[in-house]
């Protein structure tokens, strides 16, 4: 039996069985005016060698800039062994394998991943990963509506300190499923979400509160107070966290009196290189009591008929292939390859290694903001404590300053004008463990050169 479907012979047989002359004839009922015809703008194919030459030329044009942009995706050192292992043929698949139990090695890796994520987040169960942090938040919002059975409102409080892209994706996914996502204001002095901003919602039916730690501004939220507020008002807590930071910060499972209920985030900082926006992977953990409301695949450990340990997909009755339209989610796979990278990265770093990375990031960002503020044209915008990112306020327009820095080989940060116009001239900067004191000094020098060309506002 051939494993390649749709051979010419297959196609001929199928066409003759239904009495059609060609595949094209199957589309006859679509009026010609609605067909696109051939795609004129798509260039002819190139050979592998030509592609390599083209891409090399473009890479030269981009140069090797020093990157001080975080904003959800972070440049970390990735030990060479991570991708050497991930790209082995035995692991090299994007998905949970079909006939999953035949791939015991992959299932064991997923099981290890789940164990690491529950440990890191302080929760009881984890799924096998999701597509990315933003879709994980959208799934968490839908899950909260299923899990919080006392709440009938499907209202989710979504602070403006949550990553703007995550909020946009959550809105796209959730708004057509009857959820109401309501924004919560932040404190303009501290850069966090004060519990006072939630007072307007007291006495109302709220399904869940989202808490980002650290938040999009890099600021650490008062997670204990916010978590206790949510639970006191019948709402669940959805934590959006940076996995690197969890080696230093209190795990969401210990937030407030009862801990967060659902924890999500983007796994990119764990072994996934910055790569034009992805692919990255999302993660999700929760309490045991909510496991049947959790989307995605879960690997369990069991024994076979002869008592030997083995791994298996479990709790599949939640999933689409069994529950059909009533499945917890349309997610019926995981982000296998990137999750594998995250698992190997965590295994190589260990708890101590991850803690050293986090501490180095925090120290580098503090060093960066101090160095840049020393020039006088830049200051920290928010007083709240930060992890490895901070918002800088500039005394002149940010966009031309950032453009001038780029010509000097520095990606100086993310201009916040698009998502937070109320902040005026504001730039989100990040320095991870990959940035040396010399790199930070180079940024400081470049800024000093760039500033005079841009008139102060």
């Amino acid at each position: 039996m051939p494993f390649i479907p749709h051979t010419d012979e297959d196609i001929r047989e199928m066409l003759s069985a239904i009495g059609a002359t060609s595949i094209e004839s199957l589309f006859d009922e679509i009026p010609t005016a609605l067909r696109t015809g051939s795609l004129q703008e798509i260039p002819a194919g190139m050979s592998e060698m030509e592609i390599l030459q083209l891409m090399s030329a473009r890479a030269r044009a981009d140069g090797r800039q020093l990157c001080f942009i975080g904003a959800g995706a972070y440049e970390h050192h990735i030990p060479a062994a991570v991708w050497a292992i991930v790209t082995r043929g035995e692991f090299y698949s994007a998905y949970t394998p079909y006939q999953a139990e035949a791939s015991q090695g992959t299932l064991q890796t997923i099981y290890e991943f789940q164990s690491m994520m529950t440990s890191l987040t302080g929760m009881q169960v984890s799924n096998a990963s999701l597509y990315d942090g933003a879709t994980a938040l959208a799934e968490a919002a839908l899950m909260a509506v299923r899990a919080n059975r006392r709440s009938k409102s499907a209202r989710i409080l979504l602070p403006r300190t949550v990553h703007p892209h995550y909020r946009a994706v959550a809105r796209t996914t959730a708004s057509n499923q009857g959820l109401r996502l309501e924004e919560v204001a932040y404190d303009r002095a501290q850069g966090g979400t004060p519990v006072e901003a939630l007072r307007d919602f007291e006495g109302q039916d709220i399904t869940a509160l989202v808490i980002a730690q650290p938040n999009f501004f890099g600021v650490l939220e008062d997670v204990d107070t916010l978590t206790d507020w949510a639970h006191a008002h019948g709402a669940l807590v959805i934590a959006v966290v940076n996995p690197t930071s969890l080696s230093l910060l209190k795990p969401p499972g210990n937030w407030g009196g009862r801990g967060a209920d659902i924890v999500v985030g983007d796994g990119q900082p764990l072994g996934c290189p910055l790569s034009a926006g992805g692919p990255y992977f999302g993660f999700m953990t929760t309490r045991s009591e909510f496991v049947r409301q959790m989307p995605g695949r879960i690997v369990g450990r069991t024994v076979d008929l002869e008592g030997r340990p083995g791994f298996t997909l479990t709790l599949q009755a939640r999933e689409q292939h069994i529950r059909r339209a009533k499945a917890t989610s349309n997610i019926c796979t995981n982000q296998g390859l990137l999750m594998m990278a995250g698992t190997i990265y965590l295994a190589m770093m260990g708890a101590e290694g991850l803690e050293r990375v986090a501490a180095a990031c925090m120290a580098r960002t503090a060093e960066l903001t101090e160095r840049l503020a020393a020039g006088g044209a830049v200051r920290r915008m928010f007083a709240g404590p930060v992890f490895h990112e901070a918002v800088l306020a500039l005394d002149r327009p940010a966009a031309p300053v950032l453009a001038a820095l780029a010509t000097r080989g520095i990606q100086g940060g993310l201009d916040l004008a698009e998502h937070y116009p109320e902040l005026g001239s504001a730039v989100l900067v990040c320095a991870t463990e990959t940035k040396t004191t010399a790199d930070i000094e180079a940024y400081g020098q470049a800024l000093a050169e760039a500033l005079p060309a841009v008139r102060a506002a």
């Binding site: 059975r149 006392r150 049947r292 599949q316 009755a317 939640r318 069994i322 529950r323 009533k326």
Partner: protein
């Protein structure tokens, strides 16, 4: 041959209804239904106070490889649910008409009409 007690009423979707002295009714799934599902590992029950329409999906029974909805056999309001099933879903398998009961409903007016007798339900399962 499955057990179909003569003192209960049934639906075509395999729920049973027992009239209680206080005017409420007890609801569960039939011996035939539990046998078809196999060993249950989880039962999800509705919140007390929820008003149900006849035929509305109101509970989920999950076995190792399948999950099915349980439908409200009559219109009514959920008075209480069998909390024991959270820890011991297997009661539905071992004692479907006793310890495996799922919920008690306060029937809406006239809601009890149209249910099947044991004899009529036996004919349904024989044809199934």
């Amino acid at each position: 041959m499955s057990n179909i007690p003569g003192d209960l009423q049934y639906t075509r979707s395999h729920e049973w209804v027992r009239a209680l002295a206080d005017g409420t009714v007890e609801v569960g799934i039939s011996d035939h239904a539990q046998a078809a599902l196999g060993d249950l590992v989880f039962v999800e029950l509705p919140e007390p106070g929820r008003a149900l329409k006849a035929g509305e999906a109101c509970a989920v029974v999950e076995s190792v490889k399948a999950a099915s909805d349980v439908y409200a056999p009559i219109a009514g309001t959920v008075v209480t649910v069998n909390e024991q099933l959270a820890q011991s879903p297997e009661l539905v398998n071992s004692d479907p008409y006793g310890g495996g009961w799922m919920m008690r409903l306060r029937p809406a007016a006239g809601a009890l009409e149209g249910l099947l007798s044991a004899q009529a339900y036996a004919a349904v399962t024989a044809g199934a």
